[in-house]
Symmetry: C2
Subunit: 362 residues, 2 copies
């Protein structure tokens, strides 16, 4: 009865198999891979040859158990379908890959609940965590950071390493741009209240406007999505201004679309500036003037910072890393025109209906 050994789905060879085939001890095989100098060069070579022949691959689970080195990093993003994260993910994955790490990207669907759940699941698996635009409270983040090295992206915390875009400088450039075009009052379309970046951008706007002697106004909060922008357009229509800066590009694209439907012309009637320079901001109508975040770099930099934390001689640099933003002028901004709402009196609104999630009805 013992000629047919029980088989599992995939009996890949182990160091024990390799050891037997080579006539050495398992520990020697292990060291042949993980500590090359520790074993005779010839022996090591032979072991590696045989191992390759047998198709041996070291089992990451087994390695991770005693050492804790899973070679896994986690990146939690608020919303994978938000283009803001695309290049961040790319940059992070790439950086992780070249460093020999695998990136575990998880979507938390804009919910603190889901974020906690995902964290619970992921924390024990990974060596480090990047929280991109977390919706968690500072204290929740600290709890996580106590368990694994953690980096926050797009948010500043005093006791956790953070990587952010230089919002203040970017906002300053945007405001200057509008001022040069003759605008005197700027409406800020706010994003989620829980968002650190939103508060930061609004404050920076206030400051810049104050220095340049412009007026500001604020509407919101709105969901940072196309649909949110559509809603913002309706609110904005009550007290319009000639210039708008939005929390992010999605909101900007949405508000442009909403205003256009109401009969406004962009940029002739209203100039709009977004934030982040996401995918699509260059081919929307009109192409959007926006404060470009160094997205890819943001992701890559976060990984590098995290990896640095992982090193035994933890550097502990806690000053937030400020990555430069850049104003990209496209076609949604223009010299201030004479006309303000109601737009409909000037141009009949192209009649068309839009569903609540921002799609055209057939």
């Amino acid at each position: 009865m013992d000629e047919e050994p029980g088989w599992r789905r995939q009996a890949s060879p182990t160091i024990y198999d390799v050891a037997k085939a080579c006539g050495v001890a398992p520990s020697t095989v292990s060291r042949a891979f993980s500590r090359p100098g520790r074993v005779n060069a010839e022996t090591a070579d032979r072991i590696r040859r045989v191992a390759a022949e047998m198709g041996y691959r070291t089992n990451p689970l087994a390695r991770a158990l005693p050492t804790g080195k899973t070679s896994l990093l986690a990146l939690l993003v608020a919303d994978v379908t938000n283009p803001f994260f695309f290049e961040i993910i790319r940059g992070a994955q790439e950086a992780a890959r070249v460093a020999g790490y695998t990136m575990l990207v998880a979507d938390v669907e804009e919910s603190a609940e889901a974020e906690k759940e995902v964290l619970d699941r992921v924390v024990p698996l990974v060596e480090g965590i990047i929280l991109a635009t977390s919706r968690l409270s500072d204290s929740s983040i600290r709890v996580t950071a106590k368990q694994r090295p953690t980096i926050v992206l797009n948010r500043v915390m005093t006791d956790i390493p953070s990587v952010v875009t230089d919002n203040a400088r970017g906002m300053r450039r945007a405001v200057e741009h509008l001022a040069e075009l003759g605008h005197t009052t700027i409406t800020y379309v706010a994003g989620p209240e829980a968002s650190w970046a939103d508060g930061m951008r609004w404050r920076s706007l206030r400051e810049a406007a104050f220095e340049l002697e412009l007026q500001t106004r604020r509407i919101g909060p709105f969901s940072p999505t196309l649909a949110g922008g559509l809603a913002a357009a309706r609110t904005f229509d009550d007290r319009p201004t000639s210039a708008v800066i939005t929390y992010n590009d999605l909101l900007a694209i949405g508000i442009m679309r909403g205003l256009t439907l109401m009969g406004a012309r962009i940029p002739a009637d209203v100039s709009v500036i977004g934030f982040d320079n996401i995918f699509g901001s260059d081919f929307c109508t009109p192409p959007l003037t926006t404060v470009a975040a160094p997205l890819r770099n943001l992701g890559a930099f976060a990984v590098k910072t995290l990896l640095a934390q992982l090193a035994p001689n933890a550097p502990r640099g806690l000053r937030p890393a400020l990555l430069p933003a850049q104003l990209i002028v496209r076609e949604s901004t223009a010299r201030k025109g004479p006309r303000l709402a109601p737009w409909a009196t000037a141009a009949p609104p192209p009649q068309r209906s839009v569903t609540k999630d921002g799609n055209w009805l057939p």
Copy 2:
């Protein structure tokens, strides 16, 4: 000297700690969680209470080593920055999460090399794999499938479970739509040669056109990106037709933009239909008529199929799952106009420069 026990970064409690605190054996603690009926209800309750108090969390690595259950699934996508995948990722992550699995999303940057490397790294960690738009050869995929249950998305293989959009039906609808608008010749703008979907779409176009007595033409291959579309516009300009169907939306948006820069009006001069209904296809200029793939469902369905494979009584349904596509008519298609190239004679092209990756120059 032994009062200060060596500490590791995070000594989370183990079943041994819990066992000691409860005065029972570790195995009992283990069973209290994994096999509730097997241990006295009171004991189990007490153990669970103490465990909760101590903040015990079962270590997934340790559990996975003997059992092989990592509760991890892998989703490999050709390009995370391609919006085609956004909703697929969402759908897949969501489905995995509710099933108690964590999804490991990996970007392979459109390269078979990178795909292999990522697979090597990921295969031993996960219980199953979803290959979305793989650039691998059939035989490479089979090798992977031998190691772990594997599902291919957007590609049909006879011996591996696959989930695809019903391209033929979708293409048929698109061609009918163009025929109704009076178009007689359709140019197909091809995507990557290695793409199964590209071949499928082109064949379906041929068939549909044949039945409806239309002419077809084919240009390409082009990279399935905005930049690819810009290049396609130049090629198309040599032998223009009044209708274009592209391999995907990105290509469609790119070619629309390219043609517009050359002075063509869309849809008056050229009607364009894309494929996939990606993020952005509704707010580009003009909003794109496209064959909508059930993206979110595609992802969710793939996960469900994979999970089914994981069950011990493997169903082994090998007929590819065809998910229905839908034609979304927006504003990039219109009745065939009288005018063909050269466009420039009719309308002076708005002079503007575009960088090779499709951004406007400042």
